[in-house]
């Protein structure tokens, strides 16, 4: 069955949706919310997005996109360019190597695995920051940010799942794999 040009275009646009959504979340998360200390606790949207999409549909979250997301994240945070990109790519590699097992897990188990993964990412980010800046420091807001990240993950998972299912339906209808 021959599909129209606009239908194909719609599918193409849908396939960039995960990346666009993550970029939008990163930009929105940096906005001035006029709340004291809000900037410290904004959850790590890139970790949530990479974790979900690499498990369920890695073709929508390729390595180069993780690299670019990291560069954007560093630019928005005023950090040294490249440090978040490196962390994102390590996360990508770890999740991709385990996705065959992770894809079979239930939602609650995945949330637990996400909590451990995001904690490891926070520790890695802290180590990289300390290494890049040549000093070791600790602030409780690192732990607070991690708690906010794991607290927001179920909602993010639900949103990403709905997007993913809608995409899968459209792609199957079009006969795309």
């Amino acid at each position: 069955m021959k599909r129209s040009y606009y239908f194909k275009l719609r599918l193409r646009l849908q396939s960039v949706l995960p990346g666009v959504l993550t970029v939008a979340l990163l930009i929105a998360g940096a906005a001035n919310f006029q709340l004291p200390g809000a900037a410290e606790f904004i959850p790590s949207f890139s970790v949530m997005a990479i974790f979900f999409w690499v498990i369920y549909a890695p073709r929508f979250m390729p390595q180069w996109l993780c690299f670019l997301l990291g560069i954007l994240q560093d630019a928005l945070n005023g950090a040294v360019l490249g440090q978040s990109a490196a962390i994102n790519l390590v996360l990508w590699g770890v999740i991709y190597s385990q996705r065959r097992f992770l894809i079979k897990e239930s939602f609650s188990v995945l949330c637990g695995i996400f909590a451990i993964t995001s904690l490891l990412c926070s520790i890695l980010a802290w180590l990289v920051f300390s290494l890049v800046n040549g000093r070791i420091f600790f602030t409780p807001s690192i732990l607070m940010q991690w708690l906010f990240t794991i607290g927001c993950y179920p909602l993010a998972h639900w949103i990403f799942s709905n997007i993913y299912l809608a995409m899968v339906r459209n792609f199957r209808y079009a006969g795309w794999r």
Binding site: I27, A30, A31, Q34, L76, G78, L81, L89, Y96
Partner: protein, 285 residues
């Protein structure tokens, strides 16, 4: 029957193992690229700053638009707080007004005396101070960096090193300038160090940020007699901050490792001014 060469080897098929190898190594290669980007950013901060400000010029207008609806809620919150304390505030204002009238009379006498003394000394006035007022569109950095993006840049005359203030006190200083945006390093950032002097006692120290909500007073002399709630101002030492700008208030008394609560309310940080002291972008000493 002619032999059909269906399995002809193409150039792409020769390259197939190489492509597969690259695919397998792509994550590793990209991690290497990211690490190289970190080294490049550290060794050439200008390049890093250029890219960062290009991205900020593109994203800050979006962040500014997103934070606009919050102004309404902030306004409502302020109004409700005012309504709750309106009677008490009215009484305080009346008392304050009476005290200010006395101060005004005194300051008029002092101003005229000051003018006469300046004439006698043939005093050359300093450059006029200019203000560039804008909005804090984005507060960034997560737990590691305390910085914010300001909605004016090179085009508006913002320069690196200029001081950012609001009506409450010092907010920070400009560290990166883009075309239409600039980045402010807040005084609470771990890399911020400001030479300060305490208001009443006149003790010199350095106000150091620690990525928390308070500043730490370091190099305070032993046996200092700083009082609780004492005002802390910039001392004018160093090259960035002029003398007499309010930083905050002492949170404890007499300790060697004292902390200062910044005068700025970070929850109400929306409109700020970049202070241009003229000359070569340096604050007057």
């Amino acid at each position: 029957m002619p032999i059909q060469h269906r399995n002809r080897i193409t150039f792409l098929q020769i390259l197939y193992p190489l492509r597969m190898l690259l695919k397998r190594l792509s994550v590793f290669l990209m991690i290497v690229a990211a690490v190289m980007a970190v080294f490049l950013s550290k060794s050439n901060p200008e390049i890093s700053s250029f890219f960062r400000m290009k991205i900020a010029d593109a994203t800050v207008p979006v962040e500014k638009t997103l934070s606009l609806p919050l102004d309404f809620f902030s306004f409502l919150r302020g109004k409700m707080a005012e309504m709750a304390s309106i009677y008490q505030e009215n009484r305080n204002l009346k008392e304050e007004n009476a005290a200010l009238k006395k101060t005004q009379e005194l300051s008029l006498v002092l101003a005229s005396e000051n003018q006469n003394l300046r004439k006698m000394l043939n005093f050359v006035p300093e450059h006029g101070v200019k203000y560039i007022t804008g909005r804090i569109a984005a507060e960034t950095g997560g737990p590691y960096i305390r910085s914010a993006y300001f909605t004016a840049g090179q085009k508006a005359g913002v320069k690196k090193g200029q001081i950012v203030m609001n009506e409450e006190g010092v907010v920070g200083r400009i560290i990166e300038v883009g075309e239409n945006t600039s980045r402010v390093l807040l005084i609470t950032d771990i890399n911020s160090r400001i030479p300060v002097v305490t208001g009443d006692v006149g003790e010199l120290a350095i106000a150091a940020g620690n990525n928390g909500s308070l500043l730490q007073l370091i190099y305070l002399p032993e046996g200092s007699k700083v009082k609780l709630g004492e005002e802390v101002y910039t001392s004018g030492d160093g090259q960035f901050f002029p003398h007499g700008l309010l930083i905050g208030y002492a949170e404890s008394a007499g300790d060697k490792n004292m902390v200062v609560r910044p005068a700025v309310n970070w929850g109400r940080l929306v409109y700020v001014s970049v202070v241009d002291y003229g000359g070569d972008n340096q604050a007057p000493q």
